[in-house]
Amino acid sequence: MSDVPADPRYARQAPRRPLRLSWSDERVRNIVWQALVVGGVLAVFYWLYRNTSYNLEVRRIATGFGFLEREAGLPIAESLIEYDPSMTYFRALLVGVLNTLKVAIVGIVLATILGTLLGIARLSRNWLLARIAGAYVELVRDLPLLLQLLFWYALLQALPGPRQALNPVEGVFLSNRGLKLPFFRWEDAHSWAMIAFVLGVVGTFLYRRWARARQMQDGQPRAVWPIGAALMGALPLAVWWALGAPFQPDIPFLRGFNFQGGLTVSPEFFALLLGLTLYTAGFIAEIVRAGILAVNQGQWEAAQALGLPRGRVMSLVVLPQALRVIIPPMTSQFLNITKNSSLAVAIGYQDIVSIANTTLNQTGQAIEGIAIIMLVYLTISLSISLFMNWYNARIALVER
């Protein structure tokens, strides 16, 4: 954000005049104006601070974050870490943060996939496909997200109970208690295989970098996929095998009035994820479409003139250029999905806003509760911005 132009005409600066204490000196005026504005803002904040501390005293509301250590007594329906109401507020808020991250991350991945497909579909030469994608995008973008969330939640709640659950595929049940999926019993071997897979991804990435660097030197292309398949496929399988290859299917079945076993997706999480994904995908589709359209037609033609096949034109020439246009607005969509996940409170999914809200109602400490919400979101927003800025700088056009 430097406003200093690189124009050589500006290189020679005006000679510095001594500061005159007069209203006609611009520097004096600037200092006075800034002092007035900053002073005014500080005065307002001081006034608010004094009112607040007086009001807190009158209403006998405690201040400070001491309540974090107290027992929460706050039931939470779904949690990624171990939790029960006898644990502290801090633990409860941590559960909330993890729930927010869970829905945001899954939502970002799904919305990106769906949005990219929709964006490409809108540019399809197939008239019907392009029209349906266009109608979808226009519809979801023009309806409030909260309305869409309430709609999906109402639809899920209108589903039959567990006894008459919809059963589209063997082992999958959709009822007003949520979505039940078959899974397998999770054991240590699976965790180790997962770690091996992550290491495999890192290894493949490093190998690819090395292969590229070598290709630049000796011109020999090296296939990455055999190493990748070995590291990401065979290695986790070998680890799983070495630890005894445990596999116990866990298929949901009806017992009494509810399901037992299997993986549960609660109706709240399901409605929130569905709403966030479908809504954001509409915006991402427009970004992807604009990005592809922004690549000059001449680039397609030049790449084809070089004899590149259509697929490679897309992957080597068009997409890298489209990405430069796509990444910055995509970042704000990722931030939006994270911030919009706060609407969870309206349908009863216990994210950080919902839990902090309960906390501030129970303790009466409104300022601390809202400060926690804001701090969490600012941290998440800042992390996403930093990561995406780094990625954006990596793919940015390198000019002289």
């Binding site: 600037n30 009112n51 019907l128 309806l143 409030p144 909260l146 309305l147 309430l150 409104a366 809202i370």
Partner: protein, 380 residues
């Protein structure tokens, strides 16, 4: 045609011909756009099958098997048992027939419903006038001031023989329109100041503006609304109490101001540097330069993104549901609480969606058209 065929030695196929049949007409269009490759054909057939199947079942549910009215019993209470029996087969639009006044105007006194109706029409008129280019000058500010005052008088009453209606009884569509429109009206001047401040040479002012914009944009609107509902009362000196709607309105203004500031800043940056330099060369002061040269051009540039941002606020006003303010969405949700209408959420939400969609779609079409017109010089 005859003069073309003068040369009799000319081969027959050199004569001008009409385009072959297979490139014309709907069949050729379909071949080109729907069945060009076997892959495209497969997509077309699959989509057409799904579309027809779901469209038919939707029409069946929404129109053919729908129930439009239900009988009322002696006490004037609707009897929704017919709807309950029809659940899953047909829609129950009777809830809309019974509750539409409540959904649109909330708990506003029934006999005075013409007033919020008039207010809604005033808002729509205001939007239409604002969209017309001949009013894009100082007159627009006057029109907005007059209309918003008239809306305030109509809603509150208490003068000109109108009965006084306290703010607690307002509800429904007027609240949504008030939150969005007043939000824009007050956030816009704030946004211009902040955008100018962010590009200012004065470091302290620039830092303040950056801090404000980034802080607000980094947190969700809900946290600001919570702040408005639970923290604002603590901020004020004892004895001063501002009502909930006004507090939410302030939060929306602060929120909208940060986003609009970024839009305005885009316009300021898009303006060629020569404009700034020419104004400086004329010896204009900062405020004259800004008011006479920069803003009139920069604001014109940002009208399409401004409309898009306004669509965003219009949708976002629905979030006041979470702090219990009676806007359109809250009214719809409240209508569902009544025992006889419980479980008909889908019908109500579709109706509300239609209302939101009409407003947002009209605005987005307008903004897209305007953008295309502004970019006309770039088109080939």
């Amino acid at each position: 045609m005859s003069d073309v065929a003068l040369n009799e030695n000319m081969p027959n196929d050199a004569l001008p011909r009409t385009a072959p049949k297979r490139f014309l007409g709907p069949a050729a269009w379909a071949r080109e756009n729907l069945f060009s490759t076997w892959w495209s054909t497969a997509i077309t057939l699959a989509l057409a099958y799904l579309l027809i199947r779901y469209a038919v079942s939707f029409v069946d549910w929404a129109f053919v098997n729908a129930i439009w009215t239900v009988p009322y019993n002696a006490a004037g209470q609707p009897d929704a048992s017919a709807c309950r029996d029809n659940k899953g087969i047909g829609a129950c639009w009777a809830i809309i027939a019974d509750k539409h006044r409540f959904i649109l105007f909330g708990t506003y006194p029934y006999d005075e419903h013409w007033r919020p109706l008039l207010v809604c029409m005033l808002f729509v008129g205001l939007y239409i006038v604002s969209a017309m280019r001949r009013f894009w000058n100082w007159r627009l500010a006057v029109i907005w001031a007059v209309t918003l005052t008239a809306i305030g008088i109509l809603m509150w009453g208490g003068v000109f023989g109108l009965t006084y209606v306290p703010q607690e009884r307002w509800g429904g569509l007027p609240i949504t329109l008030i939150l969005a429109t007043f939000g824009l009206a007050f956030a816009f001047p704030l946004a211009i100041l902040v955008a100018l401040g962010r590009r200012s040479q004065l470091p302290a002012i620039k830092a303040l503006c950056v801090l404000y914009v980034e802080l607000i944009r980094g947190v969700p609107l809900i946290s600001l609304l919570f702040m408005a509902s639970v923290m604002f009362p603590l901020f004020l000196p004892e004895g001063i109490n501002i009502d909930k709607l006004l507090r939410a309105q302030i939060a929306i203004i602060l929120f909208a101001g940060a986003y609009l500031a970024e839009v305005v800043r885009g316009g300021l940056q898009a303006l060629p540097k020569g404009q700034y330099e020419a104004a400086d060369a004329l010896g204009l002061s900062y405020w004259k330069k800004t008011g006479l040269i920069i803003l009139p051009q920069a604001l014109r540039l940002v009208i399409p993104p401004l409309v898009n941002t306004f669509i965003g606020f219009f949708k976002d006003t629905s979030l006041v549901l979470i702090i219990g303010i009676f806007d359109l969405l809250t009214a719809g949700k409240t209508a569902l609480i009544e025992p006889q209408w419980q479980g008909f959420g889908v019908e109500v939400y579709i109706t509300l969606g239609l209302i939101y969609f009409i407003f947002c779609f009209a605005m987005s079409q307008y903004s897209a058209g305007l953008e295309a017109e502004f970019n006309r010089h770039r088109r080939r």
